[in-house]
């Protein structure tokens, strides 16, 4: 039968099926990007875990009276390692705490002129600064992929199929308010062209969209 109604029905079905496939593939891709972005964060976090013992050793000899600071760094690092794999929210919280202790450590280093000009310490400081920034940017990118995905599953027409196909909202890797404070650091004695360690840019205050 060549009735136009049959053709119309077939075309509509084809459009729905193809549209569904495209939506599904799109959502899968976005979700995979989230996983990749998260893996990138973990690479950077691990880098920081590995750098910290070197830093603590480098300053330990000079800072006999500041044991509490060093201990809190080491402890925070251990907590962060333990929190790895417990999901973005837990991990973010532990890593933010670690960032806080490192800030205190560098603020204290400012009181030790020998330490401030020590090449080893300077190099470690730059490495830690860049690692902090890289963590922050990896987190920022991760949040961007999460936003993209969450927006994808919340908007029409994907929203119709997302739930049934098993796509649910993902968590953001949030920064805590303390991470946004800027320590004032005086490095005027430095000859190297480095400047006050950059505050890792804070991720935008993102709220997970209402689960839908």
């Amino acid at each position: 039968m060549d009735s136009p109604i049959l053709w119309i029905v077939l075309i509509v079905i084809a459009v729905i099926v193809i549209g569904g496939i495209l939506i599904y593939n799109g959502l899968v891709q976005r979700r995979l990007r989230i996983r990749e972005a998260y893996a990138q964060i973990e690479v950077q976090l691990k880098r920081r875990w590995d750098l910290i013992p070197n830093l603590v050793n480098a300053v330990k000899g000079y800072m006999g009276f500041e044991q509490s600071v060093l201990t809190s760094v080491t402890q925070a690092r251990a907590n962060a390692v333990a929190a790895g794999g417990q999901g973005p929210a837990q991990q973010a919280s532990a890593e933010n705490a670690l960032t806080g202790t490192l800030r205190s450590l560098f603020a204290v280093v400012e009181n030790y002129p020998d330490l401030k000009s020590n090449q080893n310490v300077l190099s470690l400081q730059e490495q830690l600064t860049t690692t902090e920034n890289q963590i922050s940017f990896a987190r920022q990118h991760y949040n961007a992929t999460v936003l993209d995905y969450n927006t994808g599953i919340a908007t029409f027409p994907s929203v119709l199929v997302a739930g049934p196909l098993g796509f649910h909202t993902e968590q953001f890797f949030d920064a805590e308010p303390e991470a946004q404070q800027v320590p004032t650091v005086d490095l005027s004695n430095l000859s190297a062209p480095t400047a006050p360690p950059t505050v890792p840019p804070s991720t935008p205050p993102t709220n997970p969209p209402a689960a839908g």
Binding site: Q127, T130, Q134, H141, P193, P197, T198, P201
Partner: protein, 331 residues
């Protein structure tokens, strides 16, 4: 939290992209009209118009593709740049690494030019074949935050595929220039003599052809000028876009803002810059200190405007008269 005067960088980026695309559409329309008019004037038929258009575009594409595929090596060697590694420029490489993570592109190759004038440029046809180059003056005079802003701007040129975009524009403008050149030569050197015989075959087409010739001549003079103006306007829009995209990457407008002010007010001329490469730099290296920018024919927007747009992103108002006076007229 955000005042009415503030925007976010997404808004600025959309506006910039939209405007640059509109400009390209305008340019395409000019080219299409021009090509068609010339073709018709020369051949007396609309098919001739289409053929002329296609030929002009193909020639222009061929010429442009040479620069597309030669890659960064030419520009870099002309500028006497040398590649750096983690021993001689660790902080620079770290900053580039950080921003490639933020931008989610592979790390570009990093070069340094030995020159006390602070400046930077990026080149390369796509993120996989990109290079970023800074001067030693920039490394000395910028702090880490400012360096991040500058590298963010350059990285954004790479990520936004500006080399390709500007090449597209150059191709269109080149086609217009080719057509104009060809048409002017052809009409001025007696190409019209042979038309008389053919016109009579087209019946009443003679008058139309004559009109097309006149229109073609006008366009031959006007279109290349329009093309050049549009090209400069596109270049300026992409600079604004790179500024806003830099803030998208760093989430920090202050670094780039300070960097622009410092670079623009630095009096050192950049030795290796010339007219062929000036459009690539973050701040126009050929601007003589103290002369006013000509506006429409500048590759870069005025520094004060760029800074004010960045200030809008951080919620501050534009620079007051006192602060902007030393930077007025600079780009």
């Amino acid at each position: 939290m955000q005042g009415q005067a503030t925007q976010n960088f997404y808004q600025q980026e959309s506006a910039n992209r939209r405007q640059s695309i509109l400009l390209v559409v305008l340019l395409t329309a000019v080219l299409a009209t021009f090509g068609f008019v010339i073709g018709y004037a020369l051949s007396g038929s609309w098919q001739g118009g289409i053929v002329a258009l296609v030929i002009a575009i193909l020639i222009s594409m061929l010429l442009s593709s040479l620069s597309y595929f030669s890659g960064d090596s030419l520009v870099l060697s002309v500028s006497h740049a040398h590649e750096v590694n983690s021993t001689n420029a660790p902080q620079l490489l770290n900053v580039v690494q950080e921003l490639s993570i933020a931008a989610n592109i592979p790390m570009p190759r990093v070069y340094v030019i030995d020159d006390p004038a602070p400046n930077a440029f990026a080149t390369g046809r796509d993120p996989k074949h990109a290079s970023i180059c800074v001067t030693s003056g920039l490394l000395q005079k910028m702090d880490r935050e400012e360096l991040q802003g500058v590298i963010g701007h350059e990285m954004s040129h790479v990520r936004n595929l500006d080399t390709r975009f500007l090449l597209l524009v150059a191709t269109l403008v080149g086609s217009i220039a080719l057509l104009a050149d060809f048409f002017l030569r052809f009409t001025l050197w007696g190409g019209m003599a042979g038309r008389r015989g053919r016109d009579s075959n087209n019946g009443g087409g003679g008058a139309l052809v004559l009109i097309m010739v006149v229109v073609g001549l006008i366009l031959a003079i006007v279109a290349p000028i329009i093309g050049a103006l549009v090209q400069m306007a596109v270049s300026r829009q992409r600079e604004y876009l790179a500024d806003a995209s830099s803030v998208e990457l760093t989430r920090n407008p202050y670094g780039l803002e300070r960097a622009l002010a410092n670079i623009a007010s630095d009096r050192e001329p950049l030795a290796v810059a010339n007219r062929a490469t000036q459009h690539l730099y973050i701040v126009n290296p050929l601007k003589k200190f103290g002369s006013k920018s000509a506006g429409l024919m500048e590759t870069h927007p005025p520094i004060v405007d760029r800074i004010n747009r960045l200030r809008a992103l951080s919620g501050e108002g534009p620079l007051d008269a006192q602060s902007s006076a030393p930077l007025a007229g600079l780009d």
